[in-house]
């Protein structure tokens, strides 16, 4: 079991470029989440999905789009990258919502720098 994997691990973009971050999980989890981690701000939820074909906005969704076409994959897109999107991005998955006595399992993160 690989758990939660993220691709790529590192990326440098120029302002205005686009990219897609891929999250994959092999645990058959229903819920998937994208967070960004910034110094002194903890983890902030960008978007999440409660099942294949569903997406919902989190705390900081602006500038990002997501898709969950397959249950095991959750993609995070940046259409026009900005320096403010320089961050470490974490994907997580959960078999059920946290309210149902299940933890979130995190991926290793993607470090993105936007110049």
């Amino acid at each position: 079991n690989a758990g939660v994997t993220q691709t790529p691990k590192f990326r440098v973009l120029k302002t205005g470029q686009s990219m897609t971050l891929l999250c994959a999980q092999d645990m058959n989890h229903e819920y998937m989440y994208w967070y960004r981690q910034d110094p002194g701000m903890g983890l902030r939820l960008i978007h999440y999905s409660v099942g294949e074909g569903t997406t919902a906005k989190g705390e900081v969704p602006d500038g990002y789009n997501v898709s969950r076409l397959k249950k095991q994959n959750f993609l995070l897109g940046l259409e026009s990258a900005a320096p403010s999107q320089t961050s470490v991005y974490f994907c997580a998955s959960s078999p059920l919502a946290p309210s149902s006595y299940n933890e979130q399992f995190f991926g290793p993160g993607t470090r993105l720098t936007v110049l």
């Binding site: 903890g42 983890l43 946290p98 309210s99 006595y101 995190f106």
Partner: protein, 113 residues
């Protein structure tokens, strides 16, 4: 508004010292509470969680946390820290009927030999 506060931003300890990291939350209704740890260069891992029952929860690596409902707190403790406990620690709260977690800003712990 729902929120989680971790007032200790950076804690420096010597090995064998005792640790207590504060976590307070603001949330209406029944909550589920978590502590996650992020070792340098690694992803977040669950340390422990509380959903109901005994308010004193024991987790991995000798950590424990106590849920005090009247104080809206879920403080993390360890009687004797080790150098390998150097990491960032995050408290998180999830409402019973929600599908998201709210994370605190984290506490960076440095343990010196």
């Amino acid at each position: 508004a729902q929120s989680v506060s971790q007032h200790n931003h950076h804690v420096i300890l010597s090995e064998a010292a005792s640790l207590e990291l504060g976590c307070n939350y603001s949330y209406g209704g029944t909550v589920n509470l978590f502590w996650y740890v992020q070792y340098p260069g690694q992803h977040l891992q669950l340390l422990l969680k509380y959903f109901s029952g005994d308010p004193l929860v024991k987790g991995i690596k000798g950590f424990e946390a106590e849920f005090i409902k009247s104080k809206f707190s879920f403080n993390l403790r360890k009687p004797s820290v080790q150098w390998s406990d150097t990491a960032e620690y995050f408290c998180a709260v999830g409402g019973y009927n929600t599908d998201k977690l709210i994370f605190g800003t984290g506490t960076r712990l440095q343990v010196f030999p």
